[in-house]
Amino acid sequence: MANQTGAAKATKAVKPGPTAVAGAGTRALDRIIHERLRLGIVSALSVNESLTFRELKKILDTTDGNLSVHARKLEEAGYIGCEKKFEGRLPRTEYRLTYSGRTALENYLTHMEALIHAMRQG
């Protein structure tokens, strides 16, 4: 429960940037990855074939609850795939970036770069 509250807080932490950015003449920003932890998950998975829950937790320095809630959101959006296995008796959850997840990250990067370029020119 405590974890879920933490996750909810983290979700609320999304800054009001998207609306403003969308209004700045560029296409709508992907709200799913425009959140620190979800962006971190997608970025970390983009340079690895797969990462376990524990590895992602270590890389992103976050809690179990936060990571699982945000990973589930990405999974629901089809950006990452999740596979649950057993290593001996220990459960092992492995995440992979899907094709649409990689495309979403590439679009997000393009969007950010376009935004910086537009602001510099303006």
């Binding site: 620190r36 340079v47 990689r102």
Partner: protein, 204 residues
């Protein structure tokens, strides 16, 4: 009457969208670099390096004189370097990361001094007729380089380095007749075993 103070302090300058965008890009890059340490060392390349080292150990053992023996191992070192670089490039391309990403640069910079020292000492010791010291020196210096390079990588890499250090220590005491066997265990066996672990767990 006391002056009325505003409850809220004056808000700082609003953060520009481009500043926020740059911050996001920096975050993506640093996350990729941290996570990239899982991929910097190519596992499959290690397996291939191990396989060629086994052939080299056999060929070196069959060689007629110290000069031919050294030539075999020098050729193997160059081949291993080419395999290592080739597979690192392959892995970086497949994972869409630049080859000279921070973790890879760190690994190479930590390994390079040991490789340089090894190359120089090989030349000096061979010229002075002290070739019998070469196997232990190669294993120890390679182990030292991999251990320090692995400090920035996943745990399996420094463990591999320490295994080379342990084997190198044994080589300092072992008779010369076992030199090729020890080199086969280190450059062949360790590369294959640890390469398989890295390939299976850390993305190729």
């Amino acid at each position: 009457m006391a002056a009325v103070r505003p409850i809220r302090s004056e808000s700082p300058e609003p953060i520009g969208l481009h500043v926020q965008a740059m911050d996001n890009l920096r975050f993506i890059r640093s996350t990729m670099e941290t996570a990239g340490s899982f991929t910097a060392v190519p596992g499959r390349g290690g397996v291939l390096m191990g396989a060629t080292a086994l052939f080299a150990a056999f060929a070196a053992h069959m060689s007629a004189n110290p000069r031919a023996w050294l030539k075999v191992w020098m050729a193997e070192a160059l081949l291993a370097l080419a395999i290592g670089l080739g597979f690192s490039w392959r892995k970086a391309t497949r994972n869409s990361t630049p080859l000279l990403s921070k973790p890879f640069r760190r690994f190479v910079l930590a390994l390079a001094p040991s490789v340089f020292a090894g190359a120089l000492l090989t030349f000096v010791l061979y010229r002075r007729g002290l070739s019998q010291l070469l196997p232990a020196m190669w294993l120890l210096l390679y182990g030292a380089g991999i251990t320090s390079g692995g400090a920035f990588s996943v745990r399996v890499v420094p463990v591999m380095g320490m295994s080379f250090l342990a084997l190198g220590s044994i080589a300092t005491l072992a008779p010369l007749s076992l030199a090729d066997l020890l080199l086969a265990i280190g450059f062949g066996g360790f590369h294959i075993v640890f390469g398989c672990v890295i390939a299976r767990r850390y993305g190729g």
